[in-house]
Symmetry: C2
């Protein structure tokens, strides 16, 4: 990624200039025109399903990595249909650009409006899952942004085939091809050129493993929207409903263990642990979960493996749960502040005051009361899809849909005012 | 600024940790408490006026720069009163944290709220004007953010005296001193440590000349909110009211020439130029303005100095105006896109369709119709003050007041939902 290449830099600059010109066209387009492009792209993806499957075969033929990664790479007719359906859903969302965010009149008669506006050109850097490119293109288009996709080398041919179908949709709606571009090669120097393109690319969104995101953050001279880690907590409060706690904890940990919204640490009040923790552990064990427990939890359930230094700072992304008994709610908040990643935390309680204290006491992007942390997802938020999840403090947080890919500008209407 | 120093890094880390702890207290504080601190700080500034003036004398005694910079550095009883009044005005604004930005319910019954939240710890790097520190502290406090000020070495003693008064106000309201801190020395390595403090400082705001802003942008590993240049345009459309155009153009250029919202380039339609441009030039000449004009303007007014290569890309910040005759509105938009800095542009016209086309055709942070570009200012927007002006595409644009120093988080309320 550090390699610099004049050829790749020049390719990137060409693509970025074309993308910026397309972004200006998109910024002036109507919601109807952008929706027409999304629906046409969905149709084109459905029609191109055989070609996309063939391209995916070519990628799989050259792949020799782990089975888990291979599963992310595989496309099936059902996955292709889901990708197309995602484009249709994004088209059905409200227009994120037709929004006056605020409007007021000054004593001198100036009328000030704050109006939503696209960001411009988005650079999307992702790993092997081919559908990420289609989701990202849909959200960018809906919000009037041009996008430049750079997928992983393992999914190169799948990405090109999906991109070709999206281009067909753009043409059908009379929008420039350069609204959605894909990197023409898998040369890593192209990524380095993207990260250096301050003033040409307005925002970089990395989506993939922690090492990808870290490298992008470290090297980028362009603003980056990303999440570092998802070290999510579920806190079972003393006044939790037992059945609800069992259902939510099992889901929050084990529904899918590899997603960033999966719970990595269970915190449970000492007042309720003797009555409830054995059931929680038994449920999770039945689902194949392993544990790293503090001394207090092991005093209750001696066969739990002991947590070591650093376990409470580990995003397992696996069927492993860190378990800790806390004294009370402030103790839980202190643990989250020290070990959390400001991603997603949940409290299970029947006590509304405790819920409020918890939800106000965390600074995480998403806080839930009596629901599973696995709901941290653009689709579950009603955004149709997501282009990523953000845990920084600036611009956007949580799942990022079309509305969060906009910024704003001020329009001021006067009748000759000059400043004294 | 490149110098690295272990001592200064350790000082910065101490200050940042204290600031982050104070930010957590502020995030839980009430609007009434933050307002009490602002009013108490205003009183303390008024009471400390003699001490602040004496500190300013000490700064001035050691200063041997230009007269223009010296004027920015000078404090008077009237300027100190204006600083105190600014704190009172910021206190009177609506609470930027008591805002539910959006709220909706999902088909599964989950209630999702997007709630305003402070950013955390702001790092403010500014040059010689001592009042910038007070304005920035007021806006940060109002929005629940802690702030670390690092002013110019020329205003070191003035900054310390103003900071002491603000600390008095914080104590009176029962808020931690570390809500507003000031760099303990003028060592440039402290600035380098601030710029490197990713994860400790949430946002850096540089305020000063272009070279300061550029260095901060280049070196910072922390997100930066800034404006690069203010290359602002006033476009006089064919259907402009003559008297209004004369009044606005004179104000937009000459009210104050050193501010970023000053007009640097006048664009005027060829259809109206013969009748109007001579009057505009005569008005500006009477105010001491000089010109750099294109060939078409010089054909009308031969004694205008000729524009050279690069003049239309120059932010004069002086009594100089670039002048160009354009064919029509699209020609004006094309010029702004090529030469502008996405800061502030104005159109003067009586034709509403032309105004709309102009205001939608620019992507600048602020667009005005029939008003002076010098209105690009937090006070004029009704923000009480401003902590800076942003021209990036991400997070905030235009004058930045308390509301734009917030981000958001999601709060989700369920009754046991698990994800299928």
């Amino acid at each position: 990624m550090n390699a610099v290449s004049d050829d790749q830099t020049s390719l990137l600059h060409q693509a970025a200039h074309a993308g910026r010109a397309a972004a200006r066209t998109l910024a002036m387009s109507t919601n109807a025109q952008r929706n027409a492009a999304l629906h046409a792209a969905a149709s084109a993806i459905r029609q191109a399903a055989p070609a996309i499957l063939a391209a995916n075969e070519a990628d799989l033929a050259g792949y020799n990595g782990s089975a888990a990664f291979r599963d992310r790479l595989v496309l099936t007719p059902a996955r292709i249909e889901a990708m197309a359906a995602g484009l249709d859903i994004v088209a059905s969302l409200d227009d994120p650009l037709a929004r006056i965010l605020a409007e007021w009149t000054r004593p001198n008669g100036l009328r000030i409006k704050r109006i939503a506006q696209p960001l411009g050109l988005i650079g999307m850097i992702y790993e092997s899952r081919p559908n990420v490119g289609a989701d990202a293109a849909a959200i960018a288009l809906k919000s009037g942004n041009a996008i430049l996709l750079r997928g992983g080398s393992e999914s190169f041919w799948s990405g090109q085939a999906i991109h070709a179908a999206i281009s067909t949709g753009l043409r059908a709606a009379g929008l420039p091809d350069a609204c959605v571009q894909i990197a023409p090669s898998t040369d890593r120097a192209f990524v380095a050129a993207m990260l250096a393109a301050a003033g040409l690319i307005d925002l970089i969104i990395p989506r993939g493993g922690e090492s990808l995101v870290e490298r992008v953050r470290r090297e980028a001279r362009v603003p980056v929207l990303a999440h570092a880690e998802g070290l999510c907590h579920t806190y079972v409060h003393a006044e939790a409903n037992h059945a609800m706690a069992r259902s939510i904890v099992a889901n929050a940990k084990m529904r899918r263990t590899g997603v960033c919204g999966a719970t990595e640490t269970l915190l449970i009040d000492q007042a309720i642990a003797p009555a409830l923790l054995p059931d929680l552990i038994a449920d999770l064990r039945a689902l194949g979960c392993d544990f790293r427990a503090d001394a207090a939890a092991r005093a209750l359930i001696p066969d739990l493996p002991a947590a070591r230094e650093g376990d409470f700072d580990t995003e397992w992304l696996d069927a492993i749960l860190s378990v800790k008994i806390v004294a009370d709610l402030p103790d839980a908040l202190a643990h989250i502040e020290r070990h959390g990643s400001e991603h997603t935390e949940a409290i299970i309680t029947e006590n509304p005051e405790a819920a409020e204290q918890f939800l106000n006491g965390i600074s995480s992007a998403v806080g839930l009361w009596n629901a599973s942390t696995q709901f941290c997802d653009g689709g579950e938020f009603g955004f149709g899809a997501e282009i990523g999840i953000a845990t920084g403090r600036i611009h956007a947080r949580g799942p990022v849909g079309p509305e969060q890919l906009t910024s704003f500008r001020y329009v001021i209407i006067g009748d000759g005012q000059i400043r004294p």
